[in-house]
C-alpha cells in the first residue's frame, strides 16, 4: 500500500497536511539522510559538488559533507563506473551520478562486466552496494544524445537492479532503499520530473525495491508503465473515465526485480493490457512485460497485449517531431480505446 494514498485519505476524513516538494528535492533528501545515517555513503560524479548536480539533486551536499564525501570527477565515465566497484567491495557505499543515461554507454563495460558480474563470478561473497544514478527521457529539447531511455539494456544484465520512479514520494523512498541495498542498483530519473512537485512526508520512510504499485484502480483495462509515463497514463485514465472506460494504472517502479503479480492480478480483472514506456518500442522493456503478461495471463486476455513506445528513430530536436516521437497522454488514451476495440 502506497503511503501517499494513506496520507491523503487517512480515515477518509482529516487528510494530513501535505508537504509538496520537487522530485529533485526528494532525491536530495534521500541522499542527505543516508549520508547522515551511514558514514560510508559518499557521492561522486561530474559536477556533483560545486555545481550541485546537473539537475540540482546534490546541491548543498558538498558544503555539508565536504570534499571527501562529495567528489567532482573529470569527464571519465569508465573510471566513474569502475571506481564504484573498487570502493564498494572494500567497504564504501558510492552513490554515483552519471548525469545523463546517454553517457553510460562509455561506462558500459564497467557497469556490465565489472560491477554486475563481480559478485557471482567471484563466488558470491562480495557485496557491491552501488547506486548508479542518471537522468533519462525525452520532452525538453535535449536532442538525440541527451534524451534516450536505455533502461532495457540494464534489465537484461543479471547482477543489476533497475529502478525508475514516477513521483517524488516514490523517488525518495526508492532511492533510500537503493542506497541501503547491497547490490548494484541503477536509479533512473526522468528529467522532465525533476521540477514536478509531490507530497513527501517529513521524516524517515522507505519504498522497497521490487514492488509494483497500483496508482489507480480500474475495471476495464490495465496500463502498465513506469517513470514519467505513469503520469501520462493517469491523465489519460482521467480522460478515458469521462468516456466510460475505467482504467487501472500500475506503476512498476522497479524493472528488475520485476513484480509482475499485481499486473497479472489486474489483467485477470480487466482482461486487457497496455504497456507504455518512453523508450523505443522495438526491443524495449515493454516486450518483456508484454511477453510475461501473455505467458501468465493468457487465458484472461480478451485482446493482445498492446505496447506503446518511442518510434524507431533517434530523438529529434524539433519540438513537433520530438513530441510526436514518444507516447503522450493522447496516444495512450487512443491506445486504450484501440485496446477496447481489440485493434
Amino acid at each position: 500500500m502506497d503511503a501517499t494514498k494513506a496520507r491523503t485519505a487517512a480515515n477518509g476524513e482529516t487528510p494530513v497536511e501535505q508537504r509538496l516538494i520537487f522530485f529533485n528535492q526528494a532525491l536530495r533528501e534521500a541522499i542527505d539522510e543516508e549520508m547522515t545515517r551511514d558514514p560510508t555513503v559518499f557521492v561522486y560524479g561530474e559536477e556533483v559538488g560545486v555545481w550541485g548536480g546537473s539537475y540540482n539533486v546534490t546541491q548543498g551536499l558538498l558544503d555539508k559533507y565536504g570534499p571527501l564525501r562529495v567528489i567532482d570527477t573529470p569527464i571519465s565515465e569508465a573510471l566513474i563506473g569502475g571506481a564504484a566497484v573498487g570502493a564498494s567491495i572494500t567497504g564504501s557505499r558510492p552513490v554515483v551520478d552519471f548525469m545523463y543515461q546517454d553517457f553510460m554507454g562509455i561506462a558500459m563495460d564497467q557497469i556490465v562486466n565489472q560491477a554486475a558480474k563481480n559478485r557471482y563470478m567471484f563466488g558470491g561473497k562480495n557485496a557491491l552496494p552501488i547506486v548508479y544514478r542518471a537522468a533519462f527521457g525525452a520532452g525538453i529539447g535535449n536532442a538525440a544524445q541527451h534524451t534516450q531511455s536505455l533502461e532495457a539494456w540494464f534489465t537484461h544484465v543479471p547482477g543489476l537492479k533497475v529502478v525508475a520512479p514516477s513521483n517524488a514520494y516514490d523517488a525518495k523512498g526508492l532511492l533510500k532503499s537503493a542506497i541501503r541495498d547491497d547490490n548494484v542498483v541503477l536509479f533512473f530519473e526522468h528529467k522532465a520530473l525533476y521540477r514536478e512537485r509531490g507530497d513527501v512526508p517529513e521524516g524517515e520512510y522507505l519504498v522497497p525495491l521490487g514492488v509494483s504499485d497500483v496508482k489507480r484502480a480500474g475495471a476495464n483495462a490495465t496500463i502498465v508503465s513506469y517513470a514519467r509515463q505513469v503520469q501520462f497514463a493517469l491523465q489519460a485514465a482521467e480522460q478515458l473515465a469521462s468516456e466510460g472506460i475505467d482504467v487501472e494504472v500500475i506503476d512498476l517502479r522497479t524493472l528488475y526485480p520485476l513484480d509482475i503479480d499485481p499486473v497479472i492480478e489486474s489483467v485477470k480483472k480487466t482482461n486487457r493490457a497496455l504497456v507504455v514506456h518512453e523508450a523505443v518500442r522495438f526491443g524495449g522493456f515493454g516486450g518483456e512485460v508484454a511477453a510475461q503478461i501473455q505467458e501468465l495471463g493468457f487465458d484472461y486476455l480478451d485482446a493482445p497485449v498492446k505496447r506503446l513506445g518511442a518510434v524507431h528513430a533517434p530523438v529529434p530536436f524539433a519540438e513537433p517531431l520530438e513530441m510526436a516521437s514518444f507516447p503522450s497522454v493522447e496516444s495512450i488514451a487512443q491506445g486504450v480505446r484501440e485496446l477496447m476495440q481489440g485493434i
Binding site: E46, E47, V50, W51, S54, D72, P74, I75, S76, E77, A78, D102, F103, I106, I140, G141, N142, A143, A144, Q145, H146, V311, H312, A313, P314, P316, F317, A318, E319, P320, L321, A324, S325
Partner: protein, 341 residues
C-alpha cells in the same frame, strides 16, 4: 555576404604574408568577418532563446572565436573537422551558413539537419564539417577515423579534431591520439582550453603539468597556442597541418582561451572568480584583432565597420529566415534513420 575563405588558405603552403607578420588582406578580412559572424550569430541566438523562440540549450563560443577561426584559416575546404557541443564557432569558421544554422537552432525544416539535430548536432559534409557532438570526447575517435580514411584513400585531406579541456581526461583522448601517432595519421588534435568544463576548473580535472605535455608521451609535437590571438592560432595550425599533410603525423595544439559566458545559456557561472573573468575579458580576441590590424594599418576602421554591418545584416537575415521557416512535417519523423529501411 559570402564568407568564402581566400584561396591563400588552399593546399599550398601559406601563412604569414611576406611584408609584415600579418596575413594578407583577404585573409585578414576573412578572419575578422568569421570571428564577428560567430559572435553576432550567438548573440542573436541568445536573444532568440531568451525570447523563447528556441528550446533545449545553447553553448556559446563567445570569447573563443580566435581559436576556431585561426584553425580553420589553415584548412582547405575539403579538409575535415570534428566539433563539440560548443560547435557554432567551428561550423561558422569552416564556412557554415548562418541561415541554415539558425534555422536548425530554431528546429526548423530548413535547418542544416531538417530540425532533427539542433544546436549540438550540426554537420556539413560538403564543407568537411563532420559534425558537432553532444558527447564530450566523442569526436576524437571519429576524427581519427576520418584521418585514417584519408590515409587509406590517399585523398590528401587533413582532419582537425576540436575538443575541450574537459574532454582531455576522457579515455577517447588517449586512445585516439595514441592511434593517430602510431599510424602517423594526417590529423591535428586541437584542445581548446577555455579553463572550464561546466563548473569545474581545468586544474581540477587534469592532473600533471599541463595537457600539452601529454604529446611528449605519444612522441608527437605538443604546441601551446594563445587561443585568443587568431594569428598565433593560424601560424601554429598551419605548421601542424603542413606536417600532417606531409605524412609526418599528428600534433597536439592547446589553445588557451576563455568562454565569456556560462556553460550554457542557463548558467550564470557564479563559480568563477571575478578578477579572473576580468583578466580574460581584457583579452577579447575580436578587440585584440581590431587593435592589431588598425595599429599595423593592415585594415581600416572603416573596413572593419563595413564588415560589422554586413555581418549584422547576415545575422538578421538568418534569424528572419529561421523564424519564417516552417517546422518539419511529421512525416519526416522516421526519415533518415537508415538509407533504406
Amino acid at each position: 555576404m559570402a564568407a568564402r575563405k581566400p584561396k591563400a588558405a588552399g593546399k599550398k603552403a601559406r601563412g604569414a604574408s611576406k611584408k609584415s607578420k600579418l596575413p594578407g588582406k583577404e585573409m585578414l578580412e576573412w578572419m575578422y568577418r568569421t570571428m564577428v559572424r560567430i559572435r553576432r550569430f550567438e548573440e542573436a541566438a541568445d536573444r532568440a532563446f531568451q525570447a523563447a523562440r528556441m528550446r533545449g540549450a545553447l553553448h556559446f563560443y563567445i570569447g573563443e572565436e580566435a581559436s576556431g577561426t585561426g584553425v580553420c584559416a589553415a584548412l582547405t575546404d575539403s579538409d575535415y573537422i570534428t566539433s563539440t557541443h560548443r560547435g557554432h564557432g567551428h561550423c561558422i569558421a569552416k564556412g557554415g551558413r548562418l541561415d541554415l544554422m539558425m534555422a536548425e537552432l530554431f528546429g526548423k525544416a530548413t535547418g542544416y539537419c531538417g530540425g532533427k539535430g539542433g544546436s549540438m548536432h550540426i554537420a556539413d559534409l560538403d564543407l568537411g564539417n563532420l559534425g558537432a557532438n553532444g558527447i564530450v570526447g566523442g569526436g576524437l575517435p571519429i576524427a581519427t577515423g576520418a584521418a585514417l580514411g584519408s590515409k587509406l584513400r590517399d585523398d590528401d585531406n587533413v582532419t582537425v579534431c576540436f575538443f575541450g579541456d574537459g574532454a582531455a581526461p576522457n579515455g577517447t583522448f588517449h586512445e585516439s591520439i595514441n592511434f593517430g601517432a602510431l599510424h602517423d595519421l594526417p590529423i591535428v588534435y586541437v584542445c581548446e582550453n577555455n579553463q572550464w568544463g561546466m563548473g569545474t576548473h581545468v586544474s581540477d580535472t587534469n592532473a600533471g603539468p599541463g595537457i600539452v605535455t601529454r604529446a611528449d608521451s605519444y612522441g608527437i609535437p605538443g604546441v601551446m597556442v594563445d587561443g585568443n590571438d587568431v594569428f598565433d592560432v593560424f601560424a601554429k595550425t598551419t605548421a601542424a597541418v603542413k606536417r600532417a599533410r606531409a605524412g609526418k603525423g599528428p600534433s597536439l595544439l592547446v589553445c588557451e582561451t576563455y568562454r565569456h559566458r556560462g556553460h550554457t545559456v542557463h548558467d550564470q557561472a557564479a563559480y568563477r572568480d571575478q578578477a579572473d573573468v576580468d583578466e580574460w575579458m581584457a583579452r577579447d580576441p575580436i578587440e585584440r584583432f581590431r587593435k592589431t590590424v588598425t595599429t599595423a594599418k593592415a585594415m581600416s576602421k572603416k573596413k572593419l565597420e563595413a564588415i560589422d554591418a554586413e555581418v549584422l545584416q547576415e545575422v538578421e537575415a538568418a534569424v528572419e529566415f529561421a523564424a519564417s521557416s516552417p517546422f518539419p512535417q511529421l512525416d519526416t519523423l522516421l526519415q533518415g534513420v537508415y538509407t533504406d529501411v
